[in-house]
């Protein structure tokens, strides 16, 4: 059954072998710096909405507007451990709006009304200004427009709010539309940290 290999067969094996070795070489070269799978992340220190010192500049809403998903995969996240729980939160209230009868700014900053304000601790109903308030962002409503992040930045707030890519929502486009649009190169694919 086994016929003697013809010259053509031998040549074929040689060409295939060379091709495989070439591919192996490229693969090995590329793999030298390869790491675990990355995920898209926002560098808080570079994003204009959270970068310290970038005060009085326009809010960047590219995270909300350019993601391929109908509702962006980016969310604002309030780090409660850093939050001052202020009575008048500059991320919750539009602090330039007129003061209403309660003595609070009459408008909210979030265009999607995604922030909840709850009095916490020992609540004194007669003196609301003397209470602490917890600000929680509703993940289902927020689209990562960045307004509250800018509003919470030092010196107005304590910079407790930042933007984060939600790993469970992001479909990890190879060419992330936000990374392309991000004016600050703050949007990067990095090995995930667990």
């Amino acid at each position: 059954m086994n016929e003697k290999p013809t010259r053509r067969d031998v040549l074929g094996h040689a060409v295939r072998g060379a091709a495989l070795m070439g591919m192996g070489g490229v693969a090995a070269y590329v793999s030298r710096r390869a790491g675990p799978e990355g995920a898209w992340r926002i560098d808080v220190e570079r994003c204009v909405n959270s970068r310290h010192g970038a005060v009085g500049v326009a809010v960047c809403d590219k995270c909300a507007t350019t993601c391929v998903l109908p509702l962006s995969a980016v969310r604002a996240v309030n780090d409660h451990a850093k939050c001052g729980r202020c009575y008048i939160c500059p991320a919750y209230f539009e602090i330039t709006s007129a003061i209403d009868e309660r003595g609070l700014p009459s408008q909210k900053l979030c265009p999607r009304d995604a922030i909840r304000r709850t009095p916490i601790g020992e609540v004194d109903p007669r003196d609301p200004a003397n209470n602490y308030y917890e600000y929680t962002i509703d993940e289902k409503l927020c689209n990562g427009c960045g307004k509250c992040v800018m509003g919470c930045k030092e010196p107005a707030g304590l910079s407790s709010i930042r933007l984060e890519v939600r790993y469970d929502l992001c479909v990890r486009c190879n060419r992330c539309a936000i990374a392309v649009a991000c004016p600050d190169e703050a949007y990067e694919r990095r090995p995930v940290q667990t």
């Binding site: 590329v30 005060v55 500049v57 391929v68 729980r85 020992e122």
Partner: protein
């Protein structure tokens, strides 16, 4: 902002900024009441600081599982086409892979797009490519050297979606077909060029103009849906237009499949040269009554046109029902 004020002509800039940054400007009148976050004792009432909700990233083992699924699907595809000669089996594999790589994994990252990641990894020492992406890029190429375009036959979700819409394929004149086929190489060159640019101006054009990833996600920019929809309509009459005239990875695969160790042959054993198969391939891959390795996408459609296959096929009865 302050820089803008001190600059000549900074006035108009100020007006623009005032218009769009009014809330931020208002912060100057506002004074933060606290200097640090209050402690749980300060807050009182048994308050506990809530944990920041943080969904975990996709586990690494699932990435590895994707590579394993890819390897298994490629092996199965090669076996179904070359050994079992089963179009039915291959259609099942195609649907399975479309469901898994297309709709479940939502398209990314695919070997076609990985051309760009690998290019960047070659030219940019700061780029961290993932070893899963490297594996996803090279596995189908390896299979092409051994078994032909097994990836195109039943695994690639982009090929699969086109494979399933082929309705009434026309035979494209051979010279037109060959000429348009060069577009793949042009696209490959462009994709490598744009990926190899320095990081600031780099672009992944293959992904930017990916026709079908928008369908897989039920989302995406309009131009993607228009290109994809157009290709699918065209694909009713011209078999797999993206594969034959656009896909840059298909160009690489067709080059490597020329030297493949095993390849599709229309007949299972003896060639009758009866000519019954000549029109059987929707992709113009049968020339001189033989399947041409470089353009054959291993779809197994031609087998049913061969009288020898009908006699020898293990699924003879089923085969006669398939058009």
């Amino acid at each position: 902002m302050t820089r803008g004020l001190s600059m000549p002509g900074g006035r108009s800039l100020l007006v623009v900024l005032l218009a769009c940054a009014a809330p931020a400007l208002g912060q100057y009148d506002y004074h933060r009441p606290v200097e640090a976050a209050p402690s749980e004792e300060d807050i009182g009432g048994g308050y506990v600081t809530p944990a920041v909700q943080r969904p975990p990233p996709r586990a690494q083992w699932r990435e590895a599982a994707d590579v394993a699924v890819l390897a298994a699907a490629l092996s199965l595809g090669a076996w179904l086409v070359l050994k079992r000669r089963s179009r039915n089996g291959l259609v099942a594999l195609t649907i399975g892979c479309l469901a898994y790589f297309g709709f479940y994994r939502q398209g990314c990252v695919c070997p076609i797009g990985a051309i760009q990641n690998v290019t960047v990894a070659l030219v940019d020492p700061h780029y961290a490519v993932s070893y899963f992406v490297v594996a996803i890029f090279f596995l189908p190429l390896l299979f092409a050297v051994l078994f032909g375009r097994a990836f195109c036959g039943g695994v690639c979700p982009l090929g699969a979606i086109q494979e399933l819409v082929v309705l009434r394929p026309l035979q494209v004149p051979r010279r037109v077909d060959k000429g348009l086929g060069w577009l793949r190489w042009v696209y490959l060159a462009l994709a490598i060029w744009f990926a190899a640019l320095p990081a600031v101006s780099r672009d992944f054009v293959i992904c930017r103009f990916d026709p079908f990833v928008g369908f897989f996600r039920f989302a995406g920019p309009l131009h993607m849906h228009l290109i994809g929809g157009g290709l699918l309509v065209l694909g009713l009459f011209v078999g797999r237009p993206y594969c034959r005239y656009v896909c840059p990875y298909g160009a690489l695969l067709s080059l490597l499949s020329r030297i493949s160790w095993r390849a599709v042959s229309v007949t299972p054993d003896k060639e009758l040269d009866c000519g019954l198969c000549a029109e059987g391939c929707p992709y113009g891959a049968i020339e001189g009554l033989r399947a041409v390795r470089s353009s054959c996408v291993s779809c197994a459609r031609c087998f049913d046109y061969c009288p020898r296959h009908r006699v020898h096929s293990p699924e003879r009865s089923a085969a006669s029902k398939v058009s």
